[in-house]
Every structure is written in structure tokens, then in C-alpha cells.
């Protein structure tokens, strides 16, 4: 049986009290609960504090460029769909540098789990505003506060009919672990945005700030109801809803490639006969 210990225990480079710690635990828990062995799992990340997470989990890892985790994960999934692929990165990585890939991934709907550690700030580069920072967030780089409106990724994802959209909070570890487990189990792109306090640079959206606002969705909420999901998705303020907000059963990206019907690309040998036929077409 797979246990959380199989996923290892590493020294981290995070600040004491960082909201990333509970997320790391939740991911390991969810992987173990999904009965996946480490070698069946591929963790892909970009660059940032959140993006270091894979280095603290005993699994296959590709830690690539800032903003580019989603395309790497998509490529790996196409090449070897048997891998359970989990993308882990920060709000800056996924919504700023990687914004275009975020849109494209929702439209493609590959079977990936996308965990966005949303601390509403750029942690690793020491505290600039991120796309999710709120208007009155003042930093060295934004001394007058934000010049842009904050990005509500959950709302955009739902309005694009992403196939699985959830929100968790790093302060509610078990709830989060269960969301991640569900996300992994779901076939299609599963976005789990995790509210994550950054104790070093975000003095606005603290543990207390989130705790006061976060409310787990009532069991009546039907994630397959688009209108209801949309309503929930726009809620952000005094109340921030947590849980599985929206889910559908759209066609999964990999399923559209007939070449994959014969098994993963990686195991398919080059068919010399067919190649010869192809060459003959040029005669």
C-alpha cells in the first residue's frame, strides 16, 4: 500500500510559517490516497516558491521555466498518457507569465491536475504584486497600489467551461487534500486554486484574512450546474467560497489523437512498411 511516507520528506527553502507547507502535505496525502506509486506520478512546475514544491516530493519531476509548466505537462501527457501529471506553480507563474497557456490548457482540456498556489504576490522575487493582488496592495514595485484589476482565475475558468474548477485553502489541509484527490481522479484539466498565505510579503491576505472569509460550499451546491457555478465563481470579497465549484465531462484532449489509440507514443515502434508507403506517395 502506498503511504504518504513513500512521497518522502525533504528540507525546504521556504520561510517558516509559509502557506506552502500545508499544500505540500495535502499533495502527498492526495497522491497516497489516489493509490499512486511515486513512479506513476510526474510533477511539473515553473519557477517561484510554489514551483519548488516538486523538489520536496519523491516522484518524477520536470521543473522547467517560469510560466511554462502547462505546455511541458501537456507534452509529457501526450507522450505518455499513463503518467498522472500534476502541475504545481504560483499565481505569477500560471496567471502572469503563463497566462496564455492557462487559457489554452482550459481550451485543450488535457488530463492534468493544475494546482495554483495563489499567495496573491510574487514570493520568490520578493514581494511584487501578482495578477491576483488586490487594488490596495502596496509594494515596492507598486507604491501607489495595483494599476490593474485583480484576476479571478476561477471565474475565467468557469466561464470558459473548464472541466474541473475548485478552490482550496492552505489553512484547511484535509479539505484541500480531498479536493486534490478529486482533481487527480477527474479526467480532464482540473484546476485547484489554493489560497496560500505568504507570511513574508503579503501582509494583506494573511491566514486570518483568509480564515475570516473562506467558506466551504454547502453540499447543495451542484458543481454540474453551470449557472450556479458561475454565480459562485464571481464571489470574492467578504465571502470566499471553497470547494468543487464546477465540473463537466468534456472530451479530454488526449482522446482526440487517434495515434494514441495504439498505446502511448513512447512504446510505438516506427513502422517501416507504412513509412515506405508514405515515401512512395512522393513518386
Amino acid at each position: 500500500m502506498v503511504t504518504i511516507d513513500d512521497y518522502g520528506d525533504y528540507q525546504t527553502a521556504w520561510c517558516p510559517g509559509c502557506g506552502n507547507f500545508p499544500i505540500l502535505e495535502a499533495v502527498k496525502k492526495a497522491l497516497a490516497a489516489s493509490k499512486l506509486e511515486p513512479h506513476q506520478v510526474l510533477l511539473v512546475s515553473g519557477i517561484g516558491q510554489a514551483a519548488k514544491t516538486p523538489h520536496y516530493i519523491n516522484a518524477n519531476i520536470f521543473n522547467g521555466l517560469h510560466g511554462r509548466a502547462l505546455p511541458v505537462a501537456t507534452g509529457a501527457k501526450l507522450a505518455y498518457p499513463e503518467l498522472t501529471v500534476v502541475v504545481e506553480s504560483g499565481d505569477g507563474c500560471v496567471y502572469a507569465e503563463g497566462g496564455n497557456h492557462f487559457l489554452a490548457a482550459i481550451r485543450r482540456n488535457p488530463d492534468l491536475t493544475l494546482l495554483v498556489h495563489n499567495n496573491q504576490v510574487y514570493g520568490l522575487t520578493k514581494g511584487q504584486a501578482s495578477p491576483t493582488s488586490e487594488g490596495d496592495f502596496v509594494t515596492k514595485a507598486q507604491p501607489q497600489g495595483m494599476t490593474s484589476y485583480p484576476f479571478n482565475a476561477v471565474a475565467v475558468a468557469v466561464s470558459m467551461q473548464a472541466s474541473f474548477v475548485a478552490r482550496g485553502f492552505s489553512g484547511l489541509g484535509d479539505h484541500l487534500a480531498e479536493l486534490i484527490r478529486l482533481a487527480i481522479a477527474h479526467r480532464g484539466l482540473s484546476l485547484v486554486e489554493v489560497l496560500q498565505p505568504c507570511v513574508s510579503f503579503n501582509k494583506l491576505n494573511t491566514y486570518a484574512w483568509y480564515k475570516k472569509r473562506c467558506q466551504i460550499l454547502p453540499p447543495e451546491h451542484d458543481p454540474t450546474n453551470f449557472e450556479a457555478a458561475l454565480r459562485v465563481a464571481f464571489e470574492w470579497g467578504e465571502k470566499i467560497p471553497l470547494g468543487l465549484i464546477y465540473r463537466n465531462e468534456r472530451t479530454v484532449f488526449e482522446d482526440r489523437f487517434s495515434a494514441l489509440d495504439r498505446g502511448p507514443l513512447v512504446v510505438q515502434e516506427v513502422d517501416l512498411e507504412k513509412l515506405t508507403e508514405i515515401m512512395e506517395e512522393y513518386r
Binding site: H39, A259, L275
Partner: protein
């Protein structure tokens, strides 16, 4: 022409089916056993403007475009005017009888009678085919094969048009005939362009993944692969941008699928960060850069060879790479294979540098001996590894044993930071130093596999022409024309432009009385690279950078 080649120019607007005429004729001549080269020029638009397809055919080997023509197919009146001066003395113009063009050389074809509007181009094929001595049956065969797959419903109407045109041409006075020497028992030939050969080369190497963002003149490589994706078991995906394309390919390659991306300079510019990622993560990747004139958007549909230094130095940090520059369609096939082999062996980025001219140029080539070649070897044997498995084990060759994620219980950790042997982030200066050195050591292996340049002609020539990539044919023909005038001219052609190994060719440069580089750019980039590695200075340079391909004529003009 004097050298025995016959040169046809088809001129018209975008949308008039010039490419189809060119392809059909090329295929027909290829089946007839002729050597051929096509050259396409077109504007960055879909309808209108001015396009040309030039077709050079010969019973002897031809390898470059020509600037003078024996037959001009003018699909609009402008073309007749524009290209009149390029017509040889015995030259003919084929055009619609309705055009108001006043020229003796004209064959006025009643296209309206012969073909319904959009089949004029097929009628033109028929007339040209007859005049050059192609057999009706063979042309019909080409037609069926060409339309058969794409649009079977069209094949019928096309057959009829073609037959009519043939019959019409048959009643022309024989002074209009330009029958080519018949080749008996023609050996089998493939008629393909540079991009098609790259796609086929990639398939033969075992490409399993290609992601791309459309960009002329690279797009048709991906399109060529897409058509075969189901058959050959590969995935081709159009990405949201070039950054996604290259990162997807890196992901796929990491997971074990030999991967290719193809783009042009501007698209490649967006891939530069990821080039650096392939190097540090040690992920195999083949990158095709099909050049067109810059800077920026430049001339999107024209040709140039001005991205050599850019590709050579693309990416932050220091790491090895190889750059291949095919000069022929055959080389497009073989060098693509070689790029895949090196990418997999040395686990990093390998480049193929082509350009619009070669990408779109059809040639008749010997079928490739697919039996004697094999796909690349992906990853290492699991049994040969020590435990624990370290993705970045430091070795003498710089090459670390590579496993694929999920294919065994061993975990594969790849990282874009500087890392320890097991792939995790480190900031230790001594580990950093060892890893830099490990990666750079791969260059030794890559250097040992470098293809030497191709030397042709006298050992101690009066004149040595140095060239690279797509200008191969033009340069070799310019040289042979000069030779036929009694001059002592040799050529030195580079199909691999990096690494450059001085010992492989310096003596050739020194043995010549004068050395001139011939390049499709404004600064002489290869000449500069050669100077770097040999200190040999080519004072004279024949450079073309107006968007058109080098031709023997253009080279001879500059040399005189």
C-alpha cells in the same frame, strides 16, 4: 538553355493555381527520369499580387534556379510583360488568347474553351506537357495521384481538361515543339521539396511529437507530419504560440517522444529561452529554423540566410549545439535524421537551418533506402544503471544515462536550475563548476561527429567559392560554368555550419589563390564564423539579401 536544361517560368497572381502547375509538371518530369529544381516566389497575401513558379528540367543533373527561361506561362498579362526580358532567344510565351499582349513569341491558348475557369491551370499543364514531349498517359497518371487523394471529385473534370489541352497543343506547328530528350527506362524518383524531406526524415528517425505555431516558410513541415500522424503513431499539435510549442515538445521529449519544432526567425526568437532549458535539463530536441528575411516581420515569404549567428548563440548561458544546413532535398532528409541522432545522443538542442527557397523547392531525388536506416535510440538501458539513479550523473563524455519517467520504478528528476547529479536544486559553487564542465564536455563528442564540408574541383584552384545551406546548387553551377570557360574554380560547401573544425578545411582555403564566400545575407555570416575558427579572412564576398535566392547568374554577375 545552352547547358541542356529547359527552364519554365509560370507567372500569375496568388490564387491562380501556380503551385499546382509547378507540382504537377515537376512530378511528371520526375517520373520521366529528369533532374529538376523548382523555385517559388510569392507575396505575403492569399489572392492577387505577383507569384512565380520556375521549373528547371534537364536530362543531366541540375541543382539550382536559373534566371533565364525558355518557356513563360503567363497566367495574367502582367506576367508576360514582367518576365519578357528573362526569355531566351528561342523562348515562348504561353498565355490566354484573351490577353492583350503583342509578342511574336506567344502561343495564344483558348483557355476558356479548354477549361472551365478554375481549371485553366490544368489546361496550361497540358499544353506545356505536350510541347515538352511528356506523354498524355503519364500526365494523367500524375493528375489522378495528385487530386485522387485530396479531392477525388475533381479528378474527373481535370482529366477532361488535360486531354483537351493536349489535343489542342497537338495541332500547333512543330516550330513550337520543345521535346526534351526522352529518357528510356527512367530510374524511380521521389519528387519532393525541402520541407517534405524534413518531415520524411523525421518520420524515419522516429519522431513522435511535433508542436508548432504556423509560420512561413516552416509550416509545411508540421503539415507534412500531421497528415501521417495517425499512420505513423505520432502527435502533432498546433500551439497557442511558439513558446508553448517548444515547451510542449520539451515535455514530450522528456517523457520519451523524439520531438521536433519548426519555425522561422521570429518564432524561433520566442523559443530562445527554452533552447536554454533543453540544454540545462538535457532534453533532446530538434529545432528547424526555416529562414526568411528579417529583421522582425521583414519579407515573410521570401528567402535569406541571415539567422546563422543568431541560432548559434541563441540562449542564455553556455552549452553545446550542432547546426545543420541542408543544401539539397536529400540533405534535408539525412541531416534531419542526423539532428535527431545527435539530439538523443547528446541530450540537448540540435538545429536544422533551412530557408524559404529550399523549403519550397521541389527536386527529383532517388528514393531513400529505408531498409538500411533505423530510428533513433531513445534513453538508456535500465539494466546498465547504478543505483540510486541519477539523471545527471557526471561522466567523462558529459552524457548521463537517461531514463524515461514512468517507464520503470526509477524516478527521473529534470531541472532548469543548476542541480546536483540527482536533479535537485543546488547553489554549491563546486557542483556548479562540475556541471558546467560536464555539459560543455559533450561538445567533444559532437565535434568528433562533425560532417566536413564538401570540397569540389581542383586542389589548388585560382578561385574557391565557399557556401553553406541552400545555395549549394547555385554555387556549384556557377563554378562549373566558370570551369567550362577554362577557369580554375573549386567549391567548398558546408552542410554543417557548427561546430566548424578548422583541420577539416583550412588547407582548402589556403590552397586557393582567391577565396570568395557566397551567402544569402548582408554581412557574410559563415565567412565570419570561418574566420573565427581559422583566422582565414575572405576579403571578397558575394552577398545577396534582396529576398531572392542566389542563382548561378547572380553569382557570376557579382564575380565579374
Amino acid at each position: 538553355m545552352s547547358d541542356g536544361s529547359f527552364n519554365i517560368l509560370i507567372g500569375g497572381e496568388a490564387g491562380q493555381g501556380l503551385a499546382t502547375i509547378g507540382e504537377l509538371l515537376a512530378k511528371a518530369f520526375g517520373r520521366g527520369g529528369y533532374s529538376l529544381v523548382t523555385t517559388s516566389t510569392y507575396e505575403s497575401r492569399v489572392r492577387g499580387g505577383h507569384s512565380t513558379v520556375a521549373l528547371r528540367v534537364s536530362a543531366e543533373k541540375v541543382a539550382s534556379p536559373s534566371e533565364s527561361f525558355d518557356l513563360l506561362v503567363a497566367l495574367n498579362p502582367e506576367s508576360a510583360k514582367l518576365h519578357r526580358k528573362e526569355l531566351s532567344t528561342q523562348g515562348l510565351i504561353i498565355l490566354d488568347e484573351a490577353f492583350q499582349v503583342d509578342d511574336e513569341a506567344c502561343i495564344r491558348v483558348p483557355f476558356k474553351e479548354l477549361a472551365k475557369g478554375k481549371f485553366s491551370n490544368i489546361a496550361a499543364v497540358g499544353v506545356v506537357g505536350f510541347l515538352l514531349g511528356l506523354e498524355e498517359q503519364s500526365l494523367l497518371g500524375v493528375l489522378v495521384d495528385f487530386f485522387g487523394k485530396k479531392k477525388p471529385q475533381l479528378a474527373g473534370e481535370n482529366r477532361e481538361t488535360l486531354a483537351k489541352a493536349f489535343r489542342w497543343a497537338a495541332q500547333l506547328p512543330s516550330s513550337f515543339h520543345r521535346k526534351l530528350t526522352l529518357i528510356s527506362d527512367p530510374a524511380p524518383r521521389l519528387v519532393m521539396n525541402g520541407n517534405q524531406a524534413i518531415a520524411l526524415g523525421a518520420l524515419s528517425a522516429g519522431v513522435k511529437f511535433c508542436s508548432f505555431y504556423p509560420m512561413s516558410p516552416a509550416t509545411s513541415i508540421a503539415i507534412g507530419l500531421i497528415g501521417k500522424a495517425r499512420q505513423m503513431g505520432l502527435v502533432v499539435e498546433q500551439a497557442e504560440d511558439e513558446i508553448a510549442a517548444v515547451n510542449m515538445a520539451i515535455g514530450a521529449s522528456f517523457a520519451g517522444a523524439p520531438s521536433l519544432v519548426a519555425t522561422s526567425g521570429g518564432g524561433f526568437a520566442l523559443m530562445v529561452e527554452a533552447v536554454s532549458l533543453t540544454a540545462v535539463s538535457e532534453t533532446p530536441l530538434v529545432i528547424v529554423v526555416a529562414q526568411r528575411p528579417g529583421p522582425a516581420t521583414g519579407l515573410p515569404t521570401r528567402t535569406e540566410q541571415a539567422d546563422l549567428e543568431f541560432v548559434l548563440h541563441a540562449g542564455h548561458g553556455e552549452f553545446p549545439r550542432a547546426i545543420f544546413a541542408p543544401g539539397t532535398v536529400e540533405e534535408c532528409f539525412h541531416l534531419t535524421r542526423k539532428a535527431f541522432e545527435l539530439a538523443e545522443r547528446y541530450q540537448g538542442p540540435m538545429f536544422l537551418l533551412t530557408d524559404q527557397f529550399l523549403a519550397d523547392s521541389y527536386r527529383a531525388v532517388k528514393p531513400f533506402d529505408l531498409k538500411s536506416i533505423s530510428p533513433v535510440q531513445v534513453a538508456s538501458e535500465v539494466s546498465a544503471l547504478s543505483t540510486p539513479y541519477c539523471r545527471y550523473t557526471i561522466t567523462d563524455s558529459g552524457i548521463s544515462p537517461r531514463l524515461l519517467p514512468g517507464r520503470s520504478e526509477r524516478l527521473v528528476v529534470a531541472d532548469s536550475h543548476e542541480h546536483t547529479e540527482d536533479g535537485h536544486i543546488t547553489e554549491d559553487p563546486s557542483m556548479r563548476k562540475r556541471m558546467v564542465e560536464k555539459r560543455l564536455r559533450k561538445l567533444e563528442g559532437i565535434r568528433a561527429e562533425t560532417i566536413p564540408p564538401d570540397k569540389n574541383g581542383d586542389v589548388n584552384p585560382e578561385l574557391l567559392l565557399v557556401s553553406w545551406g541552400c545555395s549549394k546548387g547555385a554555387v556549384s553551377e556557377a563554378a562549373s560554368r566558370m570551369r567550362s570557360e577554362g577557369m580554375s574554380v573549386s567549391t567548398l560547401h558546408f552542410s554543417q555550419v557548427w561546430p566548424l573544425i578548422s583541420e577539416q578545411f583550412r588547407h582548402h582555403l589556403e590552397a586557393a589563390k582567391e577565396v570568395v564566400c557566397v551567402e544569402g545575407n548582408a554581412t557574410g555570416q559563415l565567412a565570419n564564423l570561418i574566420h573565427r575558427v581559422t583566422e582565414f579572412q575572405m576579403a571578397r564576398r558575394v552577398l545577396r539579401y534582396d529576398g531572392l535566392p542566389l542563382t548561378p547568374e547572380s553569382i557570376l554577375r557579382e564575380l565579374n
